[in-house]
Structures are given as C-alpha cells and as structure tokens.
C-alpha cells in the first residue's frame, strides 16, 4: 500500500500535476467527466533539471530519425516559437523522408505544459458535457510524454517505426549511460521502457520555463507596465468584445490577473470552424480524404455519437501566434491577417474563402452541420455586415503581435 502511494506520488511529480484532479462524476465512453474545469492556472511541478537537460538534448538530436537528419526541433524549432516545417510546404512539414508530408500544421509547443489530459465537463446550465484538453489537435494523447513518442515512430515524421528501433537508435546514439542514470539499469534494453523514458525526458524539457517564459509585451501589461500602443489596446478590446471579435470566449484571457497563466489564450476546448480545405496538400489529393479531427479520438474512446465531433480541433493558444507563418490546423492561411479576417467574414462573404466550393469544404457534406455557426462573429448571414471591420481586424492582428515572447520579438512599433 505504501509502495503504491509512493509510486503515485512519483507519477504525479513526473507528470507535473501537483494539484488533484477535480472529482470524477462519470465517464463519456472511456473519458473521465469531472465536476469542474481543470484550470490552466493550476500549480505544476517544476521538472528536474537533469531530466530537462536530457530532454533538451534529445529534442535537438538529428540522429533520432530514419534516415538521420531530422529532430523534434526540425518541425518545432526553438528559434521559431517551436514550430517549423523541416523543408515542407503549403502549411505542413516534411518528415525525415522529405517526400513524406504531414497532414497538419505543426503546432507550437510553447505553453503546451498547461494542456490537461482529455476530459469532459458540464456546467449545470449546459445542455451537454463538452470535451477539454488532450495533446495533439485531436486530443488523442493525454500527456506530453505520450505525445512525443508518436512522431519518433511515425513514418511521415521521424520514421523510427518501432519501439525496438527507437531503443536501438538511442543506444547507438550514446544515450545508454545517461538513461540508466536517470531511469535505471537496462532501460534502453527494454523497448517499452526506453520509449517511456524518452517521453518522460522530452516532457520534462517541454515543461521547463524555457518554453513558457511569460515575457511578452502582453505579460508586461499584466504586470502593470503601459506596454501596448493605442492600436493594440483597441485590438484587445475587439478581441474581448462579445459583440465584435468575441475571440476571448475560446481564447481565454484575464486582463486583470497578474497571473499570466490565466491568459493562455485558450480554454483547451474544441471547435469546428469549417476552415477552407487546403487543396495544396498531397493528403487532400483524393476528394474523399478528410482530416476529421476529434471524432477519430471520440471513436477510439467510445464516445456516443462520435461522428458529431468530426471537424472539431482543440483551440490552440495564441501566444506566439505572430511568429508563425501558417495558420489553422491544415495550414491553409499564410498570413495572420487572413486568419483573423476568416473569422470576421467566413459567414458574411463565404465565397471569399470557399470560392466555387461549398462552405466547410474540408469536411464531408454529411458532417458540415457540426461546424459552429452560432458564435459571434461566425453567425452573421451572407451579405450582412461583419462583426469586425477591416480596421478592427488590423487592430486584432496588432494586438496578437503583443503575445510574442521576448526571444522572438521585434522592436515594438513606435
């Protein structure tokens, strides 16, 4: 009994969870439903420095791919807010085999430490429980450790293929002594243990303050400094106004909180936005090929009516969004202004976004009813006045530029 308790304590420390989960009130399929939201601003354990150091080394190591030459950093470049394309194109990244392209825009890993495992919550006024959290844009990984193991093996990413191959590559790359020092004797001789240790190491690095510095100009504002220009402040107002951008209804911000973790610019919830199909992606060469997002996870976790979640993707943090060069889950937009303008005019000028194709063309016709058509500003009729003007859009884009961490920031506008 005591040993179990100790093991649980260790597990909690390893996963960075100091605070107990909210009370379990039920399950939706295999997924827990809690009595409360898991707040972003919860206390998280600081990862052990040695583990962080090992994780950083692994993250940058281009030997850990087949063929060699691709590391985690190739698609999550620390110099580019932990996102990049490894020579890919049109919004998706190349794998270690250059001809193999991914299907999604690589997400930034900054501030990913705050994403909780996938769960459901239902407010007592809500009609149905709603999912939150989960790593990957479809929530299929519950921890960073689980997430980082996938690209190591995936054929279109680092392509090591199997746990055995991954363990062998780690040994061949000279990690055996360090892994044994941290995870015990023989760890790289057992492929499953090796993968677990690899995941734990990467997780520690991703949980380090290096990826969550909270030193943007917006954070300066939270700390009481007059850090934003009038245009940026107007953008913040539009961003928060429920009659205009209404962005903060999903991209959560608490402008009066001195705790920047309350302003991660995501509620970790899911939305089906009906983003236009990225027709340049090889994966979309077949007309019947679709990235359905959360419903694949829903199916795996036995949620009832899993198809009702097709087209949903987890709301990403907007911190460092201005550092990115491609936007939305399929990378269809190459400018931040287009991404913001899409929200403003998706419903008022659908032809601007879908051309001759039907609206919500990146979903099968039968699933387009899942798309959110009720949240402001997505709810206006075609031909009506958008909830955000062109000037509002400019202001929001200017404001989003204030969410850039100091290491990526250009000098502020005069």
């Amino acid at each position: 009994m005591r040993r179990t308790a100790a093991a649980l304590a260790l597990l909690a420390a390893c996963t960075g969870a100091l605070q107990a989960q909210p009370a379990l009130v039920g399950r939706v399929g295999d997924t827990p439903q809690y009595a409360a939201i898991v707040p972003a601003a919860r206390p998280l354990a600081a990862p052990a420095p040695a583990r962080v150091a090992l994780g950083r080394q692994l993250f940058m190591d281009t030997r850990l791919s087949q063929p060699q030459g691709t590391s985690c950093a190739s698609c999550h470049d620390p110099a580019k807010a932990f996102t990049s394309f490894n020579g890919g194109r049109d919004g998706v990244a190349s794998g270690s085999l250059r001809e193999r392209l991914g299907t999604r825009n690589p997400p930034s890993l900054t501030y990913a430490r705050f994403i909780p495992p996938l769960y459901f919550y239902q407010d007592d006024d809500a009609q149905v429980p709603a999912p939150f959290g989960g790593l990957m844009l479809d929530g299929r990984a519950d921890t960073l450790a689980a997430q980082v193991r996938e690209p190591l093996l995936a054929r279109h990413e680092m392509n090591l293929g199997t746990p055995q191959a991954a363990a062998q590559r780690l040994r061949a790359s000279g990690y055996e002594a360090e892994f044994e020092a941290q995870f015990g004797a023989g760890v790289l001789r057992d492929p499953q243990r090796a993968l677990q240790a690899f995941g734990s190491s990467l997780e520690a690095y991703l949980q380090s303050d290096e990826l969550s510095p909270f030193d943007s100009r917006f954070d300066d504002l939270l700390r009481g400094k007059p850090a934003l220009t009038p245009l940026e402040l107007r953008g913040l107002a539009v961003f928060r106004n429920p009659d205009q951008g209404n962005c903060a209804s999903c991209h959560s911000v608490s402008v009066t909180s001195s705790n920047p973790a309350r302003s991660l610019f995501t509620d970790f919830g899911y939305e089906a936005l009906g983003v236009p199909r990225n027709r340049k992606l090889p994966a979309n060469g077949r007309a019947d090929a679709f990235d359905l997002g959360l419903c694949r996870t829903a199916e795996q976790r036995h949620w009832p009516d899993s198809e009702s979640w097709c087209g949903y993707f987890r709301t990403p943090s907007l911190r460092n969004v201005a550092v990115r060069s491609r936007f939305m889950h399929n990378g269809v937009f190459d400018s931040l202004r287009d991404a913001v303008r899409f929200y403003a005019t998706r419903s008022t000028s659908p032809a601007d976004w879908y051309g001759r194709h039907p609206a919500f063309d990146d979903l099968p016709a039968a699933m387009r009813g899942n798309v959110n058509i009720v949240s402001t500003p997505l709810n206006r009729r075609a031909g009506s006045t958008p909830a955000m003007s062109e000037e509002d859009i400019d202001a929001v884009v200017a404001f989003l530029g204030t969410l850039t961490d100091k290491r990526y920031a250009k000098p502020p506008p005069r």
Binding site: P22, A23, A35, A36, I37, P39, A40, A41, Y121, D123, D124, D125, A126, Q127, V128, R240, N241, P242, D243, S249, S254, V255, T256, S257, S258, N259, R262, E271, A272, S308, Y312, G369, N370, V371, N372, I373, V374, S375, T376, N379, R380, R381, S384, T385, A387
Partner: protein, 477 residues
C-alpha cells in the same frame, strides 16, 4: 403586526409631488417629514414588490437591529420584521464544502404591506414607487448577476462595467421610466471566492450571504429598484443549495419562516417550490409567476418527487388563466417553448422536465387555456418566438448581465422545434447584452428589445397568442 394596513389615507396627497408631500406631512404634526427627508445610512435598500392578489409589499434592508420608520400616506409607523440578522450555519451547497461558507446576513429585513390605493410611501428619506392602476411600461430582464464560479473557472470581471454590464442595463432601463420591473430569475452568481490574483473580481464578496446580494443586485440594480415596483420570479440560482436563503429573506413575496426555509437542507423538497400567483398589469392583463427554480436541465420521470408538485402548480396556473376577462402572460425562469443554443449542434429544446409535466395535463397545448404569452430567462440571450401551431408566443430575456450564451443559428434550421408538436413560425434573436420593455399601446402591449445602451433592436406586436416582430433572425447589436 401591519397596523398601517388600516391607516387612513391622506386625502390630499395624491396630487402632490414627493417633495411637496414631505412638507405636507410635516404640517400634520407627526414625524412623517423626518421619514420622508432624512436619509438613514443604516438602510441599505428599500423597494416595492407586488405579491399575490396584487398585494403591495414594501421591503427594506437595514444594518440596524430595529426596522426603520415608514410613512404611508402621511401616517408614520415602523416596518415589521421579516427576517432578523443571522448567520446561517454552513449547509450543503452547489459547491464543494471547501469552497462554501456559512451565509452571513448581518442585516434586518423588514416589510410593510400597504393597502391597495396607497399613494405615497417613504422609507429612510426615499420615496418609493408604487403600483399604478394602468402601468404603461414594464422593464423585463433576467440573469443579471456576476459569475464567480470555481467549477467553471469563470471569474467575470465584476468590477468592470463592460464585462458585467448589469449596472448599465439597470440605469438604461430606469431612464426609460418604467412603471413596473419584471425580473425573471437568476439575480445571484457570486458563489465562490475570487482568486487573489484577479483584479477584475478582487475583493468581491462570495457565497450566499447579504454582501453577495448587495453586490449582485441591490447596488447595481438601485436605479431600477427606485424606479418602479418589482415583480419577481425565482431562478435556478436561487434554489436552496445556492442563493435560496437570500431569496426567501429579501425577494420571495411570501411570508418568511426560517424553520421552513432553505436554511436547512431538510426543507429543500418544499422550500424549493412555491405556488404560482398572478399580478395584474392594468385592468386587462395579468402575469402568472411560476417558480421553476428546481426544474433542472434534464428530464425527470413521473415518479420523481418534483413531478406531482409541478403538476399541481400548473393546475393552479390553469385556474388563474381561466379568467377570460384578462390576457394572461406566464413568466418563469426556464424556457419551455424556446431554445438553448449549442455551438456545433442543433439548438436544444425547451425544458424537457416541465414539458413532460405539462403534457400530462395539456397533451398538445402544453400550456393551459388562457395563457397567451410566455416570458423566460435562463438562456443568456434574447429570443422572440412565434408559433404557427396553437402555442403561446414566447420571449427569453436572459441577456441581463451574466456571461452570454452563443447565438442561435441564422437562418434558423427548418423543422427545429422546442417541443414535440410545436411548430415554429418565426424567431428573432440576439445574444448582445440588454433587456426588454413592454410598452402599452392602446389595448395591447408592445414588446421591445433593447441593447444595454438603449438601442432599439426590434418591436414585437402581439395578437392573442401570436406575435409579429419587425425583424426576423439574428439582430445585430
């Protein structure tokens, strides 16, 4: 107990303004002028409600242990004790015990019941508004409090009038000089302590005691409380495990008995319910107030203890609505024949629990004969629904200040119904903050939706149980 009920009216007071009345009262030789002109800082709130049988109810909340003086038509007396100051021991609440606390009511709630026809009432230097025989304007609003709820991780910036605009809404509505105010429930939302690092709600009171009611309702709503008598309906936020203790002390039109109240969870199965009653809106209209605080959001079976309670209450609604000399409106918190929006899904139907109860009594009509229009809150938006089937047109006015819900789809999906057998004709809706004003126009009431700043969004004209709004679909603010 209510000696003033039999007090003679000052025969000349009707024609006098409040200021002039104070002079006249002084000339009568009593202490009326003191009551009329002297502000008593101990009195935290004073207002008027209308209860069953048209009873005018004057309420006051004072920090003193004794009730304040009241001058009714020139006669000075002392208000009666309704609820003494008390701290109610911690009971089961909607929150975890660690996030709950005993409800402190360090105030005395007092009341007086002036007789019909009373023309002037003064309490603590305030002239209180009294019911008019023929009200011309009725402000209608709901869901007004500032949300502080740990389970939702929701910390509305109560200190920011933009983020929580109830004070602005109250001021705007009050400036339109309503003759009545109808609040359709959910006054109180400050349930859990604001985290220390959030300035937006920093230092806000929390829990269910007087301080939270003062912050959520009595201070920001002061202009509306001073403007007109209130007609009150109870929301799910005022059920016993939430703000029921304050509801029964401050707003419930019935007599207060602490031994039968929400103070003890042992009373919940009775204290969460109250019988419907009617309030006249002039000589030709009445509104039935229905307490649905415990209706919940999911269906409950006929074997549930709530089922026969609500069933009996709807029979009483039928008896009230049987008065064919009046147009009967029905007001309760939970929408019955209206919608709850869902992002990425079809709008949810009305309250399925109440619908199931109503179907046992009125299988296709849901409402008893005589109910022409239904008024609700709960969903944080504005909706005006007209049905081509024989069902009462319905308004939802839950956009009074708490965090908004998402909109309904526009255009509205065909064949979507709030209840089986109910056929929607037209729906007009928006989720911007605001309120509704009922305005008398000849023999009927116009229903006008306004934004928080007083911009008119739509006007709906009733004909029997139908309405015709001058706009359809989403109303851009």
């Amino acid at each position: 107990m209510h000696a003033l009920l039999s007090s003679p009216r000052a025969p000349f007071a009707l024609a006098l303004s409040a200021a002039a009345a104070a002079v006249v009262l002084a000339s009568c030789g009593g202490s009326d002028s003191v009551v009329a002109t002297t502000v008593d800082p101990q009195v935290k709130a004073a207002w008027v409600e209308i209860g069953a049988n048209g009873q005018t109810i004057v309420r006051a909340i004072t920090a003193a242990s004794a009730c304040p003086k009241i001058a009714i038509d020139g006669i000075t007396g002392t208000m009666s004790l309704r609820a003494a100051a008390a701290t109610v021991p911690l009971r089961t609440t909607a929150s975890d015990p660690a996030d709950s606390k005993p409800s402190a009511f360090p105030v005395t709630t007092c009341e007086s019941l002036p007789k019909a026809g009373t023309s002037e009432v003064f309490v603590a230097g305030r002239s209180l508004p009294l019911p008019k025989a023929q009200p011309q304007r009725i402000a209608v609003l709901a869901d007004t409090g500032c949300r502080m709820k740990k389970a939702d991780n929701a910390w509305q910036a109560c200190n920011d009038g933009t983020a929580w605009p109830f004070a602005a809404i109250a001021a705007t509505a009050a400036a339109m000089k309503p003759d009545l105010v109808m609040h359709i429930g959910d006054y109180h939302y400050r349930e859990n302590a604001c985290p220390n690092d959030i300035a937006g709600c920093k230092d806000s009171p929390w829990g269910y005691g007087w301080d939270t009611w003062e912050a959520d309702l009595f201070k920001p709503g002061a202009p509306l409380l001073a403007a007109a008598p209130w007609i009150v309906s109870r929301g799910n936020h005022e059920e016993c495990a939430r703000a029921g203790q304050g509801w029964s002390r401050f707003l419930d039109v019935r007599a207060f008995d602490p031994s039968m109240s929400c103070d003890s969870p042992a009373n919940d199965n009775s204290a969460n319910f109250s019988d419907p009653y009617a309030v006249a809106l002039g000589s030709d209209t009445q509104v039935v107030l229905f307490d649905s605080a415990k209706a919940g959001t999911t269906a409950f079976p006929a074997t549930d203890y709530k089922f026969p309670i609500y069933q009996a209450q709807f029979r009483k609604v039928a008896a009230i609505a049987a008065d064919t000399s009046k147009t009967t409106l029905f007001a309760n918190h939970h929408p019955i024949l209206a919608f709850a929006p869902i992002a990425g899904g079809a709008p949810a139907a009305g309250n399925v629990g109440l619908q199931a109860v109503m179907k046992t009594l009125y299988p296709t009509a849901y409402y008893p004969d005589g109910v022409k229009i239904a008024l609700h809150g709960h969903v944080h938006d504005f909706q005006a629904l007209n049905f081509s089937s024989a069902h009462p047109a319905t308004f939802v006015t839950g956009n009074g200040g708490d965090n908004l819900d998402v909109n309904l789809p526009d255009p509205f999906p065909a064949n979507t119904t709030p209840a089986p057998g109910v056929v929607l004709d037209r729906i007009t809706h928006t989720n911007t903050f605001g309120f509704m004003m009922m305005e008398r126009s000849g023999s009927q009431w116009l229903y006008k939706a306004y934004t928080k700043t007083g911009k008119l969004l739509t006007t709906c004209v009733p004909t029997g149980s139908k309405i015709s709004c001058d706009k359809t679909g989403f109303l851009a603010p």
